[in-house]
């Protein structure tokens, strides 16, 4: 049988890749996708725990994470569209209005 730690390490690797993506990519949409990747890696860890501990709480949490992710994506992409309409770019290095 596979121990839980394997799943957790896989989850960690995916999470780290997601963080790296958020930090180095410039395209706002791709950054968004990286965030989705991070959420999924956490979901993996949650499902793993759920089935190894033997209760349903982890899976419930995953369900709700998905709902929130869906809501977040719809609002976030709307924001991206609004920004693009105003600035004609989604490159976040150029969207630096909030500075001194």
């Amino acid at each position: 049988m596979i121990p839980l730690s394997w799943y957790l390490f896989l989850s960690l690797i995916l999470f780290t890749i997601g963080v790296l993506g958020v930090l180095i990519r410039r395209n706002a949409i791709v950054i968004f996708m990286c965030i989705e990747l991070m959420l999924n890696s956490v979901n993996l860890a949650l499902v793993g725990f759920s089935s190894y501990i033997g209760n349903e709480i982890g899976q419930m949490l995953v369900f709700f994470v998905m709902v929130v992710a869906a809501a977040e994506v719809s609002v976030g992409l709307a924001i991206v569209i609004a920004i693009f309409r105003n600035r004609l770019t989604v490159n976040i290095d150029e969207i630096n209005l909030l500075k001194w």
């Binding site: 990747l37 089935s51 190894y52 709700f64 992710a69 869906a70 994506v73």
Partner: protein
């Protein structure tokens, strides 16, 4: 190496490779495609954990709905490719890379300390709790309040998205 381990390694390899490819592609459409691959491999991983319902939802919601939204938006905005990765690898990104490696090392260290030697195999009832019947029952009894609140969140998100994305009235 058992068959289960083999399956796990294949899936793990696919998901990690697709994730790395996703963050390194200059074209956002390609990134989106690799992300879908990643989601699908995760979905199968859920199945190996006997979480059937979550696996289905993963395909339906993520790979189906959310990623379609992404692709739509990418098409809608008609973006150009980013510059190549090597061109934009400045000092700040190097620092970010180092920091991320440190975070990885730290969490790996913590994980190794806390779960090594424990949770060697799934719980007896793991098949039971992954079933849609069981989850459905819990969702409409114990978790009814959060479940109803999610509908509120979705409504707000839809209204917010419309307000943000629509063109201003002249």
């Amino acid at each position: 190496m058992t068959a289960q381990a083999l399956v796990f390694f294949i899936l793990a390899f696919v998901s990690i490779a697709s994730a790395i490819l996703m963050i390194t592609r200059a074209n956002p459409v390609k990134s989106a495609i690799f992300l879908i691959v990643n989601f699908l491999s995760l979905s199968i991983l859920y199945l190996t954990l006997s979480a059937q319902f979550i696996a289905i939802i993963q395909v339906l919601v993520y790979a189906g709905a959310i990623m379609v939204l992404f692709v739509f938006v990418i098409m809608l905005l008609n973006l150009q490719d980013e510059k190549r990765l090597s061109d934009r690898f400045d000092v700040r990104r190097l620092i970010a890379f180092v920091i991320v490696l440190l975070v990885f090392a730290e969490i790996a260290f913590g994980l190794g300390k806390s779960v090594s030697g424990r949770f060697l195999k799934p719980a007896e009832n793991s098949v039971e709790i992954g079933k849609i019947e069981f989850i459905g029952e819990k969702l409409f009894t114990n978790y009814i309040l959060p479940f109803e609140i999610t509908s509120l969140i979705l409504i707000v998100a839809i209204v917010g998205a419309i307000v943000l994305a629509k063109r201003k009235f002249e």
